[in-house]
């Protein structure tokens, strides 16, 4: 027994070391990136990182807890409007706007979750969709506050400051670094969450909720917590997108946004955190390259999605896993 445990520990250390090198390399590339690409490519990277945060947040719900939300844009858009409203009316200081976004989306997630989590399956999907569409119609109709279908424009890039010391992330490069910092923090934080006992409990709920109840878990609370965590990170992503484009738009709340992030998850591979990041990259970048070759790029995107659902339901991460296992099998048979 001790042999198994120690062998396992050694394998873990080896894997962790290899992963550390990989991550260090990736961070290094990300740090020098603004200096080797054109501004347009830098903008694409900013968008990909923001949508990666959004997609990772949905993965907590959909991939880990098994709650298929079709209204995740609600929190993305809420974060967008909260930061726009606060920036226009009060300040662009992140030390104020970030807490407003976090507290506002957490509160909204508590309220929406309280009703949605009483249901499951298709009903959960419908309730979350309805919640997001409700916010969308408020954003369209209540134009004195939300700017109606134009949204809120002229949102300043964020600053961070205490007293006389202040720095504004005005340039594209400085804003890129801010987004990168948010992305790295989100990845690290959510990875900690899914590796924790709480994170395993979420997987347990996905696999078999009835058994979790029989083991003494108050599953409602766990699902609520997952819903709030997912909502807050989606809100932060929406905040960053608004600060980047200097604009909060009602489309951020629309069901197509919820659909797009769900497609990112499915293409990347759910329940992996890394998969959604890859999915966000593919779904945001593909149209840019495709549109230089064809006007029908949306058709190609749709076909890509259908092919993944049919032939690679576990997404890019599933394909990678299969590829690696085949490699290992070949190594073993060569021994």
């Amino acid at each position: 027994m001790a042999a198994i445990t120690s062998r396992l520990a050694r394998a873990r250390v080896r894997l962790a070391r290899r992963r550390t090198w990989w991550l260090a390399g990736l961070v290094l590339v990300a740090l020098v990136y603004p200096y080797v690409v054109r501004p347009y490519q830098l903008s694409l990277a900013i968008e990909v990182l923001i949508f990666a945060i959004f997609a990772m947040s949905l993965d907590i719900l959909l991939g880990y807890t098994g709650l298929v939300s079709f209204g995740h844009a609600a929190f993305f858009g809420l974060g967008a409007y909260l930061v726009a409203y606060t920036t226009l009316g009060v300040t662009n200081n992140l030390l104020v706007t970030l807490p407003v976004v976090v507290a506002g989306t957490a509160l909204a997630a508590l309220v929406a979750g309280f009703f949605a989590i009483r249901t499951s399956g298709i009903y959960f999907l419908m309730v979350t969709l309805a919640f997001a569409q409700m916010l969308f119609s408020i954003a369209i109709r209540w134009s004195s506050v939300t700017g109606g279908s134009d949204g809120l424009s002229g949102v300043a890039r964020p600053a961070i400051g205490l007293g006389p010391l202040s720095y504004t992330f005005d340039s594209r490069t400085s804003f890129y670094y801010l987004v990168l910092a948010f992305f790295i923090f989100s990845w690290w934080f959510l990875r900690r969450v899914v590796d924790s006992p709480f994170g395993w409990a979420l997987r347990g709920i996905r696999e078999n909720e009835q058994r979790m109840l029989a083991l003494g878990y108050n599953t409602f609370r766990y699902k609520m917590a997952a819903f709030v965590i997912a909502g807050v990170f989606a809100g932060v992503a929406g905040m960053l997108l608004t600060q980047f484009f200097r604009h909060a738009a009602p489309e951020n709340l629309y069901w197509t946004t919820s659909g797009q992030v769900m497609i990112m998850l499915i293409v990347g591979g759910t329940g992996t955190l890394t998969g959604p990041v890859l999915g966000a990259a593919v779904i945001r970048l593909l149209p840019n390259y495709l549109s230089t070759y064809t006007d029908r790029w949306q058709t190609v995107l749709g076909l890509t999605f259908i092919l993944f659902v049919l032939f690679a339901p576990r997404g890019i991460m599933g394909l990678w896993e299969r590829f690696r296992q085949r490699g290992e099998n070949r190594e073993h048979s060569a021994d």
Binding site: M1, I4, T5, L8, R12, F189, R192, V193, D195, S196, P197, F198, G199, W200, A201, R203, G204, E207, N208, Q210, R211, M212, L213, A214, L215, G216, Y217, N218, T219, A225
Partner: protein, 246 residues
Amino acid sequence: MSILRTERLSRNFGGLMAVNNVSIAVEAGERRAIIGPNGAGKTTFFNLLSGELRPLSGHIFLDEREITPLPPHQRARLGIGRTFQRNNLFLGLTVYENIQLAVQQRLGLASRWLRPARTFEDLDREVVGLATTLGLEGRLFEPAGSLSYGEQRQLEIALALAMRPRVLLLDEPTAGMSPAETAKMVQMIAGLPRDVTLLIIEHDMDVVFSLADRITVLHYGQVIADGVPEEVKGNPKVLEVYLGEA
């Protein structure tokens, strides 16, 4: 004082009374077998005790405290553990992760949300220890879904034991097992400490008589006999139910 007691407990499915006015009292440390023909209401009775089903009427007491209105997870925390007649596992997770879910809940670690689970040494030690007790140490990192039926049955028991329940409800623990596996399982159950009170639903009479201190016989949802094995064996009503009317 009885650790678990029911008072005129009833539950219907439509017009059928699956459990009908059942009053039993189980002493702490007792091993109680619940037997009866198919459809006698044994599993329904367990589902009422664990909270999966709500009774139509009647009361359930744990340590003379009424638990009738409590949901399953609260009863589990008060010390009622159970296994299921059909394996009810986390099939996509490994054996290790299955047991981990049960152990971390009991250790009060389940709501720790920012520290990796594998860094809790007491958790790891208990998971490996339990897997070894149940003979699953060689399969720790296999998905539960890839285990044989008998191994899944063992894992089912491991999950319940991991909770360290005071009252353990075993729903046909040896169903579908080979004679060799059955013998091992009976030995394991017989070796459980006496601070666990056992209620066992079982069809195999050899298993019943080798484990039970007392036997309750259900028929059409009603208790038709309740006593030590010798009494029940000689009870004419029980013979009639099992052998048919002569």
